[in-house]
C-alpha cells in the first residue's frame, strides 16, 4: 500500500494510508515531501506550504480555509483548517456562506484523472 494518496492534481493535501513518521520522506505524485510530525492513517498531510487564509484543496475542491500557515509535510486538520460552511457563529458578512455555484466544477478530464478510482487503480 502507498504511504499517501493524492486524489486530484489540484489538491494541496494528501491522505495518509499508513502511519507517517517524523522525518520520513514520502513520494506524493513525484514530489518528495519530508513529514514534519507523526500523522495517523486517514489524516491529511500538506503537500506544499499553505498560507493563512488560503483554500485547502482535496478531491479537487475547497474543503476549508487555512487558519494558520501550514508548512509542507505538516498535519492538516481541525487545528489549522476552518470550515467555511454552516457557520452560524460567525458574521456572514465576513464569510463566504454562499454556495459556490460560480466555481466551475471539475471538468471531465480532471475528474477522469483525478478520481480516487484512477489513482488507486493506476
Amino acid at each position: 500500500m502507498k504511504a499517501v494518496l493524492v486524489i486530484s492534481a489540484r489538491d494541496n493535501v494528501a491522505t495518509a494510508l499508513q502511519p507517517l513518521q517524523t522525518g520520513q520522506v514520502i513520494d506524493a505524485g513525484g514530489a518528495g515531501i519530508t513529514v514534519t510530525e507523526a500523522i495517523a492513517p486517514g489524516h491529511k498531510i500538506a503537500l506544499r506550504t499553505i498560507e493563512l487564509g488560503e483554500a485547502v484543496i482535496k478531491y479537487g475542491s475547497p474543503i476549508g480555509t487555512a487558519s494558520a500557515v501550514i508548512p509542507a509535510g505538516a498535519h492538516v486538520h481541525t487545528h489549522n483548517v476552518a470550515s467555511s460552511r454552516g457557520r452560524g457563529d460567525i458574521d456572514p458578512a465576513s464569510a463566504d456562506l454562499q454556495p459556490r455555484l460560480a466555481e466551475p466544477p471539475d471538468d471531465a478530464a480532471t475528474r477522469a484523472n483525478g478520481t480516487p478510482s484512477r489513482v488507486i487503480n493506476k
Binding site: 492513517p41 474543503i63 476549508g64 486538520h77 481541525t78 470550515s83 454556495p99 455555484l101 475528474r111 488507486i120
Partner: protein
Amino acid sequence: MSSTNKPSRPGFLGYRRTDGRVGTRNHVLVVPTVICSAVVAERIAASAAPVAVALPHLAGCGQLGPDMRVTHDTLAAYCAHPNVGAVLVVALGCEQVVAQHLAEAARRHGKPAEIVAIQSEGGTVRATEKGSRIAQSLAGGLATQEREWCDISELVLSLKCGGSDYTSGLASNPTLGRVTDRLVELGGSAVLGEIAEIMGAEHLLASRATHAQAATKLIQIITRVETEARALGLDIRGTQPSPGNIRGGLTTIEEKSLGATHKGGERAPLEDVVAYAAPIARKGLTVMDTPGLDVESVTGMVGGGAQVVVFTTGLGTPTGNPIAPVIKITGNARTARQMEDNIDLDVSGIMDESETLDGAADRLFAEVLDVASGRQTKAETLGHREFAIHRRNPTI
C-alpha cells in the same frame, strides 16, 4: 410486460403491485397512528412476525401544521409502499392522524387495509387480540403472492452513508457511485439525502442537473440549512463532521460532503429535488431534503419509494428499516472484521489495492439484485427495523 421478454438486461424477482410499482419485500405493515398506539402495534406485529412489521413512532398528535403533515404523509407513504402487501392501522381514537386516511392510502394502491382502534375495542388486551387475528389473516393472504421477473429500471435505490471515515470517500462511496451510474444508465432511479452532507459539494451535483429548476432547488435547500444555523447562532461543526468523523481524519463538512457525494456517481444526471418522504417520481438521480441523522434520512428515502437501501460506513453502524432491506458496505478492513455481524459487503481491498473499484462495484451490483430478489441483509436477520419521522418544530 416487455421487461419479462428481455432476460439479457439485469433485473430481479419482485412483487408486481396493481398500481404498477414493484416491491422487493411483501410485508403486512402494522401502523400506529400515534405514539399512544405504538406498543399495541408492536405486539400485534410480533404475533405475525416476520411477515408483519410494526412502524412505531413518536408523533401523530400535538404537532403543528407542517410537522403534522410530514407525519401523516410519511405514514401514508409507507402504507402505499410497494414493499408492503397489506396494512393494519392501529388507532387510539382521539389523535390528530386519521386512521381512515392511512387505510385509504393503502387501498388506493390496491392493498387490503384494516383498522383497529384501542378506545373502541375496549383497551390494550382486546385491541391486541383483534389486531393479531387480522394481522395473521392478512399475512395468510400474502403467502400466495409470487415474485416475478422485474427489469432493473423498476428499482429505486436509496444511497446512504453513516459513521464515515477516510475510507468512505476513497472506497465505499465511489463503489456505490459506480453502481448508481450503472443503475441510472439502465433506466433505474437513485435517491441521495442528507442535505448537510451535500454542503460544500453542491457545485458538482448542480452541474449535472438536467434542468435549471433542479439546480436552483438544490441550492435553495442548502442555503436554507445554512440560514437556519445562522438564525440559531449555531455552528454546525459540533455535529458535522461528528466527533468520530474528526478522529478518523475528516476535518470539515466540505471534506465530508465531497466524499459523501461520490455515492451519487460521477455521471448520473440530477433529475429532481424533492421534499422529505415525497414521491421519487423521475428516473435518474433525485436529491431528497432529509437531515443527516441516519434513521430519519433512511425513513424519508424509503417513504419516497426506495425499495432497497445501500448504506456505506467506515466505523460501522446497525441501522435497518421496517420495510426495506439495508445493505451495509465498508472500505475499512478493521470494521469489516470487528462488526462482521452488521456488514454485508467488505470492499477494503480497494484500500490495499487488492481489488479495483470496478471489481467492487460488480460485487455490489450483484448484491443489490440478490437482495432485491429476497436475500436477507444482516440488518433484516438481526431485526434492525429503525424508523424515525423527521420533525422540525416543537410538540405542543
